[in-house]
Symmetry: C2
Subunit: 151 residues, 2 copies
DNA sequence: TTCAATTAGTTGACACGACATATATGTCGT
DNA sequence: ACGACATATATGTCGTGTCAACTAATTGAA
């Protein structure tokens, strides 16, 4: 199997399985991995408009994540208010309940990161970062990540 | 941002964007990336039962891919016959039309691989493979990949 | 000032992907 | 031959993701 092909499927496999593990771990909290990403981003960078949120999300590139946010509002974790100065904009922020979830989400993410660290044990990851950053550099999801890391 | 966290999102970003690119390239053929994976696997390893196919797919771990196959049957690209010896089994194989698509799919994949090669240009990927293989080694999607590469 | 762009968000449609449950079909012990 | 178990596949449900088309609010140029 050609290296590029194996790499393609390794990345697919890693993403799928990582997401599956995270989904199972988050299930007791009643939220999904994508929803957890929104909550974390709102906590670290909020308040945000829908577009502003979308520009920081890796899980949803391009579209505005209105339906993703809808469910979080329905769960009572996120509040959406029309902005005063421009009624097209929306101000998204965590509710009290949402803010209280952050701690538990962080703990669950921590466990995922530990299993990533375990696979990284004793390896030089410089090339891994360089390769992946190069691949996504010019693409929306890659830019979202750059914006997240920067601010 | 912690390395494991960046790695997590880099993998997510790479998978999403790669899949998006591939989806757009495949659109003129009327099929999706997952459907293309099924066709390729059937071409290289078929005929297969549904479970046998599922064990070779990275895109769908665990479940039997019956609905994925349904659509390919509806498109006239895959044939499903009940196995003679055991009526629980199904024999999946490409139709003539499906077999003719393989060539075009391969060309489109080739372009994806070239953009992967471009990002890999001048880098030592040994660590990338080692890390990703270690992460998925014990998980269904990782095992599917091992089975694919082996036969 | 008025109306054509532009911008922000919503909604419809479709195909995944994961989990759970259901329905055949076959196997094996007794 | 009968029934408990196992196997292969199908189906229901939910939450994404993606593309495309739509509405509403604002801007700005003739």
């Amino acid at each position: 199997m050609r290296p590029a092909e194996e790499l393609r499927y390794l990345i697919l496999a890693a993403q799928r399985e990582g997401n599956r593990m995270l989904g199972q771990a988050l299930r007791p909290l009643g939220i999904t991995p994508s929803q957890a990403e929104v909550i974390r981003v709102l906590q670290e960078h909020g308040p945000l408009s829908l577009n502003g949120l979308g520009e920081l999300l890796v899980c949803e590139s391009g579209n505005s994540p209105s339906r993703l946010v809808d469910r979080l509002v329905a769960l009572g974790l996120v509040r959406r208010d029309v902005a005063a100065h421009d009624r097209r904009h929306i101000d998204l922020s965590l509710t009290q309940e949402g803010a209280e979830l952050v701690r538990q989400i962080a703990e669950i993410e921590e466990r995922l990161y530990q299993s990533i660290d375990a696979a990284a044990e004793g390896r030089e990851l410089g090339q891994v970062f360089a390769f992946l950053r190069a691949f996504v550099a010019d693409l929306p999801a890659g830019q979202a990540l750059v914006r997240r890391a920067r601010s």
